[in-house]
């Protein structure tokens, strides 16, 4: 033992010697040449084999040189004057490294909005920028004299990236203003109207916004990473949206160079904003934003019989100590969204512990157990559990699917325990519902699933509840909105987008109770002897608790969820999560309902399966529900394109009365209605899946809007044609609304 410690010490010493030597040798050889090449005003700060980092010590501006292709990435546009569209403050903003959003202290609790400041006007012209050297980089302190902010940012060169970090813990806000958010390097890599290329946005599965597409939306694209903070979003969405799953973004030039950003610290409090060139915007930019405080407007107290809208701000900062974004310059083969996906996958593998754990193509089935419906007995109305699929029926469904030729099935069972699909009290016991057949039938189902070799994921919701009980109080232990109310999770009307009055809102448990609840539940769950579980919300549900005294913000919540998943993994080896937010992915053994499209914003040109490219060959994942999509054939083709397992929502009983419950969106989930379709589609899908399930996607290309080509690492190539006409490409004819698999000879 002692010997080995000694050995390691020795090894360390040798390695560090080598490193120092090599560093010296690098600095001895190159700097002279590089300094000569440096732009006027910039000096070399640091360099390595791949990159060189130059900074202007007066302004705090910098550029990053990618030695492989000689491309220089400037922190702000090289020629800001060529911008003929922006005027005044907005024009000067383009020369800023930071853009801050703030609220004056006196504007709190009245109906007012935030204002913006930037480093060019408020620090360079009317304040102070001090630059000092640190290891491999610089530290820039921006003093916004007028606003009272002092914001330190470090820029550090690492192996193949530049890390920009806002040191939030050393940030000084001053007294007159609240800092709401900081846009970090909003014009880093900005493209002009002369450039050709696209911005990559991780919306849903991923999307491409071409430079200068002239879309000019009424509001610029800005979205929180990992979805809305449910702690304060309480309005129904007018349009359906997909979330940002991974904290990444990128700018790609058709000339073969790209800049990719990964938010590595403070991602839970980050947002990504995108602007494309139009008659109102000159530069094409994508950047990330750090949240410092939560600013929200909401209806508050009654005044003169009406609710009054006020803006509120959280009094403790968001909790991000350091907000760090890595910028990777890419070139050649890597300079596109495929390269970014590879890079992000490597990041997940090396730093987050993503392991290769592929599974053969499966049919995913989400079975619904029981749901509460309103009933009345002799005039007294009450909620009763309505059986949708009991354990016996589920066993039969598995058997029938087995007989129909489905070799691999991944069954999630939703609403099998305690209160059914939606928790009334927080989950504590793992008691199979009596009404579904009780423990005996449940264990039979478990045994049959094991016998067939099917994946079986009983679903547990450890996040939401409606009533106090099981040691968790509704008032005390629930997450609160910024105005102090329980952060109610409503079901919204699809017509009016207003909360549905006849359905009780649900509460979220405060994130710091999450571990306790999980531990308690898991102890009971383990007794059922199942080595897999589905914790849907762990993958798509991240929120803050804005309680005045014991607030927990998203940055902290993310840690809690990760700890929760870690602890679950020690007890249960397979965990399925839903949606697949980046932080949860490394713990998952299956991701359910991974979006196969983006939200389709006007600024997007087409969708790209970025998320799937990251995950394929590493983790199995499934599509959103086939039956509830806008077309079965389209969804099937999407599954083929993205390598996703098809998912069917399943109800054993007839579904008609579902229209009066929370599950009214599950029309046509009756097993008998889709069994044959599912078997047919699975048969087709699995023939392809068998070939590629453990390979990575190497290159996905949109040949045209309706035609995509996907190349796997084992050289299997898939062409998918979404158009109504047959298309010939690479000498291969792909039929209308069909696909073609080309195998290497």
């Amino acid at each position: 033992m002692r010997c080995s410690v000694k050995f390691i010490k020795l090894l360390c010493a040798v390695i560090s010697c080598l490193l120092i030597c090599s560093a010296f040798s690098v600095s001895a050889d190159k700097p002279a040449a590089s300094v000569d090449e440096a732009d006027a005003g910039y000096t070399l700060v640091s360099e390595n084999d791949a990159l060189a980092f130059y900074a202007d010590y007066k302004t705090g501006g910098f550029y990053l040189l990618n030695k492989a292709d000689g491309k220089k990435w400037y922190s702000t546009p090289e020629n800001p004057d060529e911008d003929t569209i922006s005027k005044g403050k907005l024009k000067l903003q383009t020369q800023s490294e930071l853009v801050v959003e703030y609220l004056a202290v006196k504007d709190e609790n009245v109906n007012s909005s935030t204002q913006k400041g930037n480093t060019f006007i408020d620090a360079r012209q009317n304040g102070k920028i001090s630059v000092s050297n640190i290891d491999n980089g610089i530290k820039v302190v921006y003093e916004f004299t007028r606003l009272g902010f002092v914001i330190p940012v470090t820029y550090t060169l690492k192996n193949d990236y530049l890390e920009a970090a806002v040191l939030a813990s050393q940030l000084d806000e001053g007294e007159n203003n609240y800092l709401v958010s900081v846009d970090l390097l909003p014009y880093f890599g900005a493209a002009t109207p002369k450039d050709k290329g696209y911005l990559f946005v991780p919306d849903g599965c991923g999307a491409i916004a071409r430079f200068n597409n002239n879309a000019a939306p009424s509001e610029d694209y800005k979205k929180t990473v990992y979805g809305d903070d449910m702690g304060y979003v309480s309005e129904g969405r007018k349009a359906k949206n997909e979330n940002i799953l991974f904290p990444v973004f990128g700018t790609v030039y058709d000339s073969g160079s790209a800049l990719m950003g990964i938010i590595t610290e403070g991602d839970a409090g980050a947002a990504i904003s995108v602007k494309t060139g139009s008659s109102q915007t000159y530069f094409n930019t994508v950047n990330s934003q750090m949240t410092y405080r939560i600013y929200s407007t909401g209806e508050s107290f009654y005044e003169n019989d009406r609710t009054k809208t006020i803006s509120t701000i959280t009094h403790t900062p968001f909790g991000t100590e350091r907000y760090a974004v890595r910028y990777y310059p890419l070139c050649g083969q890597d300079a596109d969204y495929n390269g970014m996906a590879r890079l992000y996958r490597n990041y997940l593998i090396t730093e987050k512990g993503l392991a290769k754990n592929p599974k053969e193509p499966a049919l995913a089935v989400d079975v619904y157990g029981a749901v509460k419906t309103k009933a009345n007995f002799l005039g007294i109305s009450y909620y009763k559990n309505r059986v949708l699929t009991d354990f016996d029926a589920a066993t039969k469904i598995a058997e029938e699917l087995k007989n129909a030729g489905i070799d691999h099935l991944a069954m999630r069972y939703i609403g099998w325990q305690n209160d059914g699909v939606f928790n009334v009290k927080i989950a504590k016991n793992a008691k199979p519902m009596k009404i579904l057949g009780g423990k005996k039938d449940f264990l039979k189902l478990r045994d049959d699933m094991a016998k067939y070799g099917f994946e079986f994921y009983p679903t547990a919701d450890l996040f939401t509840y409606q009533k106090s009980g099981n040691g968790v109080s509704l008032r005390r232990d629930s997450a609160k909105a910024p105005n102090g109310d329980i952060a109610e999770q409503n079901q919204y009307s699809i017509v009016t987008f207003e909360p549905m009055k006849n359905l009780k809102p649900r509460a979220l448990i405060t994130p710091d109770k999450l571990l306790k609840v999980t531990g308690r539940y898991l102890k009971n769950y383990k007794k059922l002897g199942i080595d897999s579980i589905s914790l849907s919300e762990a993958g798509d549900c991240l929120y803050s608790d804005f309680s005045k005294k014991s607030g927990v913000y998203r940055a902290k919540s993310e840690e809690y969820v990760e700890q929760m998943l870690k602890s679950v993994k020690t007890d249960v080896s397979c965990v399925a999560i839903s949606g697949g937010n980046g932080y949860a992915v490394p713990y998952a053994s299956r991701i359910t309902e991974l979006p196969v499209s983006s939200s389709g914003y006007d600024i997007f040109e087409y969708d790209v399966p970025f998320a799937q490219t990251v995950l394929h060959g590493y983790l199995p994942y499934t599509t959103p529900y086939v039956r509830q999509s806008s077309g079965v054939t389209e969804m099937f083709l999407k599954a083929v394109e993205t390598g996703s397992d098809l998912t069917f929502s399943c109800v054993g009983d007839d579904t008609y009365p579902l229209s009066q419950t929370r599950l009214s969106g599950l029309y046509s989930s009756e097993f008998s209605l889709w069994k044959d379709t599912a078997a047919k589609l699975y048969e087709k899908y699995s023939r392809l899946g068998e070939l590629v399930f453990d390979s990575e996607i190497v290159k996905h290309t949109c040949i045209s809007r309706d035609l995509v080509k996907v190349v796997y690492s084992n050289r299997v190539t898939v062409y998918v044609n979404y158009s109504n006409k047959a298309v010939t490409v690479d000498g291969i004819t792909v039929n209308a609304m069909d696909y073609y698999v080309a195998q290497p000879k």
Binding site: A239, S300, N376, S598, F604, G631, L673, W674, R705
Partner: protein
Amino acid sequence: MKRLLSVLSAALVLCTLFTVTVNAVSYAPYNSYEYNEFDEAVDAPVGYAVTKVINTASLKLEKQIDSPQDIVVKNGKIYLLDSGNSRILVLNESFELISVLENFTISKSLASKKGVALTDGFVSFAGAEGIAIGDNGEVYIADTLNNRVLCADGKLEIKNVILRPDDRLNDTDASFSPGAVEVDDKGWIYVASKTISLGVMVFDEQGEFRQFFGANTILSATEAIVKFFREAFLSVTQLDYVEQKTPVTIQKMDFDDKGFLYTVSPYDDWHVKATESGLIKKLNFEGKDILDSEIVFGDVELGEEKTWFCDVDVDDNGFVNMMDNARGRIFQYLDDGTLISVFGTLGDQVGCFSYAEAVESIGDTVLAVDSVKNCIFVFTPTEYGKAVRNAVLLMENNDLEGSKAIWNGLLEQNSNSQLYYKGLGRIADYGGDYKTAMKYYKLAYAQDEYALAFKQQRQLFVEKNIVWILIVLVTALAGVALLIRFVKRRSVAAEGAYSKMEQKYTIEFYALFHPLDAFSQFKLRNIASVGLSAIIVAVWFFAKIFEYGCTGFAFDINREADFSLFTTVLVTVGLFVIFVASNWAFCTLIDGKGTLKDIIATTAYSLIPYITTRIIAVILTNVLVPSESVFIEIVTAIGILWSFTVLLLGMLSIHEFSVSKTVFSLLFTLLGMVIILFLGVLIFSLIRQIANFVLSVYKEVIFRM
């Protein structure tokens, strides 16, 4: 060489493909729904999705499209009014630009005659809101800002200019600002002016004014009454402050292929609370609306915004597309009010509107113009949408056998829909399988159809079981006769004594036939029973529940979940208590002799016939159909009359009133009940206000803490 060429051509193809800015295909950023019998929205699969976006980039135009206002499809060509640029873009069916109609000319004489000013030698119509295209490519432009309608031939020369027909508009000084123009097959021009509410103005092919057509009516009946009272009570100066009501103007129009003119009118009033019928009209040749006046188009579940139709379009198959500007939705209906699909919403996504402006269709494809996004969204039916349209058309043509498979297929895709259950019901019905038909109709909440199928089924049942039915009927009649005899016998009493029917717990039945005698015994023998009364009221309460749960489907649709215990208690026990309280309070004032106990018992006992007949009526609703409901009405009427008579005589005898005084006291009892209810409502709303106050104080405290 050949290979090089092919590579080059491939590259060219790729280039063109990439320069066309068209967005993602299959993602529909909105929920689709339909309305059930209870006006609740129910999720439904998406029927239409955007497959293409037509904008400046996709048409490769140099000048940006600016505020497009109208779109017309004629002879396979799509005409888009690019209003801001004073031009019309013409596209073919594959949405490629084939020509741009701009630089319209005009002869000098016509220009000076009609006062048309030229810009750069051409006629500008910037800000125009509507166009129409004639059979031979004539262009009609509703040049809104210039107060005229331009009529040009296919060669871009303006042949006629329609100005305000002053001699026909003597009564009004409203300006002539045409917002929409249509042309019929005779070449007559229909113009809807934004400020003139006398109807669509019809001009002949020479541009001469002919008539007003299809005006909206001025006042509804209630509004007329309100107006009458206003004028009666308000002074002249006050009246000046009251908003003068004029009928709404017609906003947009579209001819269907049979020559009917669909018109759409906006709301005239911000305070209209609900979506109304009559905003969409289908005008016949006389200008009469031939749509069923019961049909309400648009959203019936309302939030802060109401449906605000801004355009209407009829496609080749008779499906009507209506565009809702307020929520950015397009509703597709059959003109009998059957909702086919709802699609679109507001937002920055493809398929979401910033400002929905105009709608038009080409085949089953719907073209929707957004005047802020400056684009056309091409909505095409999804697999589901296509199937629904097919099925409905087959059903319209009475092709029942052909549509059965389709209806079943649809049910597979959307088991929430009532439409399909109705369709399946109809198929079973026509096939003579009434039992199945009834089942489907019930699921579809189709009462009328259910009643007819039920009648057929009943016919079959009666034919089959006539003997048994007769036996049951005879037995029942005999039973009733025996019962009457039994009661009569027990009502006979020995001299000086009371019969067995005049005891404490039997007197209520005796009272039904001898009210005066029975109720006068209350005082003498103290046999009024509060307990028994309570039982009767309880029976009334349960009868109400029975009525709710067991009324025949053909008569009333009552869903278990909608049952309200509160209302049921209120209309039975509550009503009883209020009546007794009111009667007691009032009759004590006017020296009524009845005690509270007497009043309770009298009221309760007299309810027996009413309750009994209600129960019988409920049973009858399960045997009869609504067309035979006269029997039920007779039974109910007997019950009410009987109960009322017993009550009247009862009150008369316990209070020892004269007949007129009893009637008088009952009237005042009713008045008292109204007062009690009023006070109740007042207290209730007061409590609610206090609760709101406390809640907001609490919220404020929590917030400030």
